[in-house]
């Protein structure tokens, strides 16, 4: 059973992630979960689209498919349907998944294909230098929203729940333990597991939003997250939840019919 370090492709280091980027944390949690699952490297395929998040697949020792912008889930669907015995993990980002790839996202959830989808949501297009994405919070600055984003954002976890994924959770790069456990639970759950990770991008997002230091951004993510159980309780009590917060935790775990199960 390979250890976490064996899941890495040492010859591809150093990685291209900026100093302070959260993507390494998410990658590490994912590979820890894969290791905890007892998966074999040769039975696992990592699929990714385009963007900073999508570079992660190239740093794993397993087979990987680095595809076109937004289409990782469609490519991964092909892999899984051809080889249901493979463990398929998709790395994606908020821009890749919810903007240009939004259609594939909802349909992969609807079909409930047995794979694990890890979204590194840094609220920005990081790779191209910080343009606003569908997850850039209202009022946040980016190069294409110089006076603050005005459009409403997507709640990716709720979208996955609505579209039919069997397992949906959201954590942040602050919640390393919970994130690792959640990814493992997702891997164990048959059907599409969607794990959204709020991740810091000090370079493209933080610098424009007074969160220049990586720690500032991690603290921001910690301070603005609220446990979903607590959120639901407060809502039931009629309390007002500030719209600057986001829920973390397990959104759904269910057993809708699944495509691509191991035979």
């Amino acid at each position: 059973m390979p250890s976490v370090s064996e899941w890495y492709r040492a010859d591809r280091m150093p990685h291209i992630f900026c100093t302070g980027c959260g993507n390494g944390t998410v990658l590490n949690c994912t590979l820890q979960a894969a290791s905890d699952m007892g998966w074999e490297i040769d039975d696992t395929v990592f699929v990714s689209g385009i963007g900073c998040s999508s570079r992660a697949s190239g740093y794993t020792a397993a087979d990987s498919l680095h595809t076109t912008h937004g289409r990782a889930l469609a490519f991964a669907t092909g892999v899984k349907m051809a080889h249901p015995e493979f463990n398929v993990v998709v790395f994606t980002g908020d821009g890749d998944l919810s903007a240009i790839g939004g259609n594939h996202f909802i349909h992969a959830c609807r079909r409930n294909i047995d794979m694990t989808v890890i979204c590194m949501n840094n609220m920005i297009y990081g790779m191209t230098g910080g343009q606003g994405s569908p997850c850039t919070p209202r009022g946040a600055f980016s190069t294409t929203t110089p006076y603050g984003a005005q459009e409403p954002t997507f709640d990716l976890a709720e979208l996955a729940v609505a579209a039919g994924a069997n397992y949906v959770s959201r954590w942040t790069t602050y919640h390393v333990k919970q994130l690792t456990d959640s990814i493992k639970t997702g891997m164990e759950t048959p059907g599409l597991s969607f794990i959204e990770t709020m991740s810091q991008c000090p370079t493209s997002y933080g610098r424009k939003n007074k969160l220049r230091q990586p720690l500032d951004m991690i603290e921001y993510l910690r301070d603005h997250s609220i446990l979903i159980s607590k959120k639901r309780r407060l809502e039931a009590e009629g309390k007002v939840i500030p719209d600057t917060t986001f829920a973390v935790g397990e959104f759904v775990r269910r057993s809708r019919p699944v495509m691509g199960l191991k035979r």
Binding site: I50, H66, T68, H69, G70, S98, A99, I100, G102, Y125, M127, T128, G129, Q131, G132, P134, T143, T144, T145, P146, Y147, E151
Partner: protein, 387 residues
């Protein structure tokens, strides 16, 4: 007055001066600096239009089609994978005869993923019905936008237009650029006067179902308009020259071709390097010149033939590969067709793909190969990487 500015920002300035009412774009390297600057101009109120942060290139061009059909002057910019993703709408925009201008910051197409320059992206859409004009430097890239809008919107043309500039090489470098005033551009480029537009008082349908009894005629008309665009381009560029003094009147442009025995044919920024290499070769007594192709669509066959009359050897530098074709590159095929009656030696030399640098010594080598009659091939190929 000359200002030192980045190629992308020169393009953004040009677009602003053209007063588009809708700008719709999706970020992709190396196009981003153009659209970021435009987003800023709209946000600051310097450009009185709408900037749409769409969710994909497909939506970018689709919303441009909608806005253009509604009677607005529109703009987008993209490159490479983004353009490939748009391809369906690219054909639709031309078929609906919508005079959209779109900048292409030329970049290689995957796989493998590559963000650097070649010209495969625009060239693969050569049959789409869009005009394609290529700027060599920031000034030309900027000026071609003014010409492009005027050309695209002419009622005897009504075709969309790519204005292409080499990604990074032109888009991300700083050069002195003469930026016209708004008054000058307003005089040169009047407001968009659509021949057809969505109008409740005069209902109009775009892109409807065309059955076999009429579809072919639509395609005929697009091609006829493309042919008319040659003369229209010359007229507009002459008007531009009279007003601004910069000469883009040729769909092709010769450099030291007068008594040349060997000619290089190229598009885009590599023409600058080629001119330097030619100067050095001329100093060494070699009779060599350059033919720069400014317009790849419409392709100026007659001009190419006239310009290359008397040339014995032609070396086409291809920043593209037309895989499986008779010649290696798409430009070479067109040039060969243009000059076939004069029977010079003509070769496609493919290189600079995916951003590999083309140096003066590469160009000198190509000239040597053409003189020796070396057949179509890649240059700068790293044999050690081939299995």
């Amino acid at each position: 007055m000359l200002q030192i500015t980045e190629g992308s920002h020169a393009v953004a300035e040009a677009v602003k001066l053209c007063r588009p009412q809708v700008v719709s774009a999706y970020p992709i390297t190396p196009q981003t600096h153009i659209v970021e600057r435009l987003a800023e101009m709209v946000a600051d109120g310097d450009l009185n239009g709408e900037y749409i942060c769409v969710e994909s290139e497909f939506s970018a061009l689709s919303s441009c089609v909608g806005a253009s059909a509604a009677g607005s002057r529109v703009y987008s910019a993209t490159t490479s994978q983004g353009l490939a993703f748009m391809a369906e709408v690219v054909f639709n925009a031309a078929g609906m005869r919508l005079p959209i201008v779109m900048t292409i910051a030329n970049r290689a197409l995957g796989a493998p993923l590559n963000i650097w320059n070649d010209q495969q992206d625009s060239i693969f859409l050569r049959d789409s019905g869009w005009m394609q004009i290529y700027g060599e430097d920031a000034q030309e890239a900027m000026d071609l936008h003014f010409i492009a809008y005027k050309l695209a919107e002419r009622h005897d043309v009504l075709l969309p237009c790519f204005v292409c500039l080499d990604g990074f090489i032109v888009s991300h470098t700083f050069e002195p650029v003469d930026i016209p005033s708004q008054k000058e551009i307003d005089e040169f480029l009047p407001a968009f006067n659509p021949l057809h537009r969505l109008d409740a008082k005069n209902p109009m349908s775009f892109g409807m179902y065309a059955t076999p009894d009429c579809y072919q005629e639509f395609r005929y008309e697009i091609n006829a308009a493309m042919i008319r665009a040659k003369a229209a381009y010359r007229e507009i560029a002459a008007e531009f020259k009279a007003k601004f003094g910069r000469d883009y009147t040729g769909l092709v442009e010769g450099y030291r071709l007068e008594d040349a025995e060997t000619a290089i044919v190229a598009m885009g920024s590599i023409c600058g390097t080629a001119k330097d290499a030619i100067d050095e070769m001329r100093d060494a007594g070699e009779k060599v010149g350059l033919l720069k192709i400014r317009s790849f669509r419409p392709f100026p066959s007659e001009e190419v033939r006239t310009a290359l009359k008397g040339v014995k050897n032609i070396a086409v530098i291809e920043k593209n590969i037309s895989i499986g074709s008779r010649m290696l590159g798409a430009v070479g095929l067109e040039v060969k067709d243009a000059v076939y009656k004069d029977s010079p030696n003509i070769f496609s030399y493919v290189g600079g793909l995916g951003g590999r640098d083309i140096r003066k010594r590469d160009i000198k080598q190509i000239v040597q190969w053409a003189k020796e009659g070396r057949n179509d091939c890649f240059f700068g190929l790293r044999e050690e990487l081939l299995k």
